[in-house]
Amino acid sequence: MNEEIDDSEFYTQDFTTASEWEIFIARMEEIINQWKTDEVIIEENKSIWSVRQENIIFADFDFTFYWYKKKDVEEVSESSDSDSRSRNPVSGNFDFEMFSEADLTNESCISTWYGLDEFMVLTPTRNVGINSESRIKILLSSVYIVSSNVNNDIPIFVQIRDKWQKCFMGVFEGNGVRTNFEMVHLRRGPQHCQYLTGLLDLFKTKIMSPCSMDPIMCSVQLTYVLSDFGNFIWKQDSNNSEIIDMENVRLPFGVTVEPIKSIILKSTWKQLPEHLVVDSESYTDFDPHRAPIWSILAQMTKEPLCLLGDGLTEVYQLLSNHSNVYDSLGDYANNTTTPETNNPLDLLTEPAVPTISTLLNKAARSTINKHHKGVPPISENVLVPLLYFLFPDADESSTYPYGRDSNNEKDSPTKNKFINLEQDSKSFKTCPQDSLIWRLSIVLTHALQSLGGVKAFAHIWYEFVQEMRYRWEKSMPIPGLPSGFPDLRTCLLNQKLQMLNCCIERKIARETHRASQHFVDAENSSEDDDEFYECSEDGDSNKKYSMWNQPVGRLGKFNELKLLKTGDPLYIPVTQEPVLKTEDQLEEDTEVLLNLGDDNEASEVRARIMSASLLSDMESFKAANPGAIVEDFIRWYSPNDWIIDEENEDGGYLSPRMNIQNNIWVQMWETAKPVPAHRQKRLFDDTREAEKILQFLDYRNLSQICELIVPVLAHGALYRLVDEYNGITVNILQATARVTAMTKQVERISRDVKFQPRRFDAFIQDVSNFELTLSQINSLGYKFNPSGSFDNEINEKIGDLVIGKEIELLEKSNSNIGSRVLSMFSDAQNTANMISGETNEKLINPLPTPFQREFVMRVAAVKPASCSARCPQFLRAILSKNEFRLCGAFSEDIVFF
């Protein structure tokens, strides 16, 4: 100690010379006082502990000082211990705590061992042990001083030895009693301490009661660990080999290793007087089958590989890979086919009887690619079934055509537990379930995860793009897409393919039209004849339509209207098909229009830009209606701008806005030539658009491909989880909330204007967690209820076990779970015996030797002198194969001694 402080003058308080130790103690006291006066803020988290912490430095050594307090602890005064005055923390009847995962913190073992609801711990911040005897002593002295100085009624502990040993010493002082917490931790305990009898002797010796004591009350707990589940090992989707069940191609799900590490059975006896029980090397009263209390808990495997989460993670990681498909494929993509090894696509799209065109095509391809060097990343026998799965229309007898599930409502994940999912999923910007892109994203994920990684992924995409090109060239519609124009409420890839399909459709229409045109020309057009005859009935058809002005491209008559000038029927012309756009193109267009500004001039330019279709319609109209005037056109095109004369049904006039001098409509009408739609310049050039799409697909790099399928994958993963959840009968805590949260995430992922990997990552975490929970439940269900019959009781218990709770088995081995656990234990024992070659006797006791035995002894003893008050004494012994721990709390009267 530094003497100078004591000698210092009263009027100058010089702290500069205070020793490190004094500062350390002062700091601790200060923290404790601060904590006591502070308002306690109870954080809203799962843990039952509210924890506060401060850092303290002792010399150059960092410590962290924690204060642990159980939230909402009711005073334990209900217990038989009516002596509420002595609130000694160890005086309760606490024996064994029911294990609960949520309560776990680093230092909470103190609470488990001593049954404390509130305590403080001083522990080295870094992972260094306090092993030297003098250091331990100085720390202990410190907390003794602090404890008595601040009149603390909370035990203070110091962590000593190496951190993993979880060895704590401590002190409590209050109500005239001091309790010393002491702990011994050894690899292996001394021989005489292996059984209760020996431990009782040790306890008595330690107490050294000056007079005779009450009988010591003992509690015992035997723990058995089952980690060999024999036939009941749970592994799902073991088909992660290269063979994929083609009948059931779905996103992977489940775990590759048993998600339950072990099942722990505890048999417990509570509060037995010492003279009633015997437990020694030769004989023990503690037969687990006769224990009054049985409880079990499940230990989970730490971070087992979850297939669904893993698949998504692989895609997530690929997002940062910007290399292109051809680079990833290397030689293979550049030298696709030779006559010997056909491109699987040819196999796929080739009709049963090869047509000349496909043979030609094959020939053409084979001459281009003479050298075949590379080995395909996915072998043909794996690839072909996958392609048949994506394009089932290539095989007439396909067992998985698109739209097969539409009448099978049972499979719909919305059927059971999530009524709203169907509704919510409408806001997903993805694609319909089990459509081509849905399947493609599943196949791509499979390829990435289990068929050969990045190369296989690139290979599938490459084949897919090739197939798209093939379909376009051969005018074959793409299967498994929603019909119609690009739907802006779906993902971009879906829009692109819808667009490609529209292009293919128009190409087919054009080709058939051309074919029929030839035919009609040869036959001298019966339609034209009709027209001709109809006209000839008037007798002056030749006069009306000169040879160069024959009406063409009529769709049908328009409401019996007659042309104003000629009195001929007004025909609706065949017009050009509407222009189709995908959202990225629309965005570009919008941008162009917006950049023009918003003044009148810009409006005029916009009108010009937009008027292409108007001009086309005018030309078609003129072609179909020779002799028509602008008024006729308006009557068809914008009937509201033709004001009918009240008196004369056929008469009328244009609305004022149509009569504006030089308005754009009239201008255009004047420039329009009579040209039928099919001879006009195409407003929508399907050949060009198709080529654009094919190039778009072709030039995607790996990262961009992932971006395209991520929304669909997220949607698929959610449905997969919900599907699995509907398959089980156990209720998962907050399942609805978790699914709702994931639904929101999918919605956001799919609708983000710019893709945000961070969001996808968060989603993957949630998916993996949910997947793991489901796997654990499946595993426990399989173990406890192999028949799979509905059993509400078992389901409830499984629900508890899965969140890490220890549960009591009221009927012990007679309960369903109890008997299942016993039989698994005996199976495991049999297997073990068989391996070790021991005689295969019938096992009398299906339980193995306990993994851990725990004894709790407590008594009230007068200490240190015979005139002292009775103070609680406590010893807990934890014995296992490679650990021996004694946790003692010995109290003594510090007033009367």
Binding site: P578, L594, S603, R657, M658, V753
Partner: protein
């Protein structure tokens, strides 16, 4: 100059031809009425700043042609609109009867599920009214939209209609969830403003 702009909203004006969509827009943006306004071809748009609750929002209002034949062209521009004004002519029952079809079209093509809709009965200055206020109100109630009567010619109700619509859009809570995505409203001028604006309002 755009420092004080909170966000840009995309609005749509749809309805039958000749009900006065462009006139309403002209009245709102330029406070002007032109009886000889040309027929809109395809789509057009105007911008306007509007101050609401001490905040300024920029409106990009897309005006569409009402003609049947333009139906293949215009819906492309419905994308990502936050609000839609459905206009009918109170002196023409047929334009009112077609509203149902317009609402359906809006639901089909708008990509936002929570688009705010407002029905405007235009031309209330005209004498021969064919659609009563009550009937229109009933319709609006059934379809859960806002309803207001206006006249682009006399200026009645026009300002109020757009203000009301913008107010409603800002209040719609679901909106917020997209605000942090760097919302794109067909105008990329102010991505920063649009991404941060909503928290302060709601």
């Amino acid at each position: 100059m755009d420092e004080d702009i909170l966000t840009t909203l995309k609005l749509l004006i749809i309805g039958e031809s000749g009900v006065g969509k462009s006139s309403l827009l002209l009245r709102f943006t330029e406070d002007n009425f032109d009886p000889e306004q040309t027929l809109t071809i395809g789509v057009d748009f105007k911008t306007k700043r509007l101050s609401i609750d001490d905040n300024t929002v920029k409106l990009a209002i897309w005006d569409t042609a009402g003609q049947e034949r333009f139906r293949s062209l215009t819906p492309s521009y419905y994308r990502d609109a936050q609000g839609a004004v459905l206009v009918f002519d109170v002196s023409s029952y047929s334009t009112f009867a077609k509203l149902e079809k317009w609402l359906l079209e809006l639901d089909t093509y708008s990509t936002k599920s929570n688009i705010v809709k407002m029905i405007v009965g235009n031309k209330i200055d005209v004498d021969n009214r064919e659609v009563s206020r009550e009937e229109a109100m009933k319709f609006a109630r059934r379809h859960q939209t806002l309803y207001i009567e206006a006249s682009a010619k006399t200026k009645d109700g026009v300002q109020c209609a757009f203000e009301e619509l913008v107010h409603k859009i800002i209040q719609t809570p679901l909106w917020e969830s997209y605000a942090d995505n760097g919302l794109q409203i067909g105008n990329k001028d102010h991505p920063a403003e649009s991404s941060c604006g909503y928290c302060t309002l709601s």
